[in-house]
Amino acid sequence: MKENRLSSLTLLRMYLRSFLLQASWNFEKLQNLGFVYLILPGLHSLYGDEIPAEVCKRHGGYFNTHPYFAPLVAGTILRLEARSLAGEDLAVDAETYKSMVMAPFAAMGDALFWGGVRPLAALVGLLVASQGSLWAPVVFLVLFNLPHLVSRGSGLLLGALQELRAIETVQKCRLPDLAIRLKESTTILIGVLCAYLSFKGCEHQSLSVVWGFALLPVVLLFAWMAHKGVTSLFLVLLTTSSLLLLALVF
């Protein structure tokens, strides 16, 4: 055994490795190798060069969580490993903890990042792009990656420092509520974007803006169809073929 605390360098290496968590994503055990790859610097600092085979095997099982929350799980796991190595009695061992938290963190991350932050950042980017500005991709990347990178870094530190109490800290952040607020903001921005496009369309066709309101039921109909499982591809084919046919006929 070398030391039971994780050095800053080890944490930095783990942070960087977290960007490769899903390099070997597979159907069988999803992120299993990625998780071991992520915690290896920490395991080396605990066990030295020769990590016992049973420790490696223990962490190589099925693993699936949101990639941005994986560093938090990894930080906590290593603290639990360190305490177990020091001979302390643990209320929850590393393996049980991993299986307990990966699904809730996956659900929380999916709702927050894929369902909340990403669509919101994309819509802001699109509104910038609609003005013909090449800053749109930069705006999108900055808006999305600020919370992303902070989440990875703070998660790792939180797990490594607070161990099991990290879950309480995350709970206090009320991330599911934040995800809902972000989704509501996205919905508002969708409305703003559709209205803007409708206005520009009327202006271009020299029509009264009143005609722009006709777009509202059309978008709602398509949204209902999408909600019922109609694919975007089908909707694209439906609208574009209708518009092309109209253009050919008239």
């Binding site: 490769l20 894929w114 809902i180």
Partner: protein
Amino acid sequence: MVIGDYLLAGLVAMLTGLDRVALVQVMISRPLVAAPLTGWLLGHPMVGLEVGMLLELLWLGRLPVGAAIPPDDTQVAIGATVLTLSVGPMLGLHGMPFVILAVLIAIPLGKFGQVFDRLARHVNDRLAVSGERALAAGRTRVMERYHLLGLASFSLASLATALVIVLVGSLILYEAAPFLIGAVRKAGLSLQYSLILVGAASLLGTINVNRSISLFCAAFTGTLLVLWLR
């Protein structure tokens, strides 16, 4: 476009393809970023921006959760940008109507991305088995190598998707563009906006939050009134 441009586009396809799942995930794989980046490297960033705008919302509501594989909008965006810049000048066609046509041809070909992505993950199944074996033997360095090899399968899958979109898309465009470009020009702005609006509607339909319809209607009506009355 010269050979070097195609190689550059292939490199972007592989790098941004990795960003979808395997590496970093800073979202350079989103059409709004990948297409302008491709366009910029090929000397026409505005073409890329136009492509990115049309495609960004289309599959944004499809979450990359668990084993779900959404259509490859990254390669559709890159492919459509390359098609616009390679086939357009050869046919003497340019401008927004040709961008729309290239995007419309590229969109269905995005389905190939799902096939190649699935294939890459099956290759990774084998890597994972070998990696686990190395792990059980305590050979962590070997396990790391197997893990990183997964990047190769994902990047090759992305490259294959981009190739299919560009090759098949070029053939279709050569044949169909002379017939369709007139209708696309005539439909013009409505066709351009319809793609964005379908994306917006798809996102709205899958956003899964209470009051979404009332919030959308209020924002739509309020914005249109403000724009009308200002």
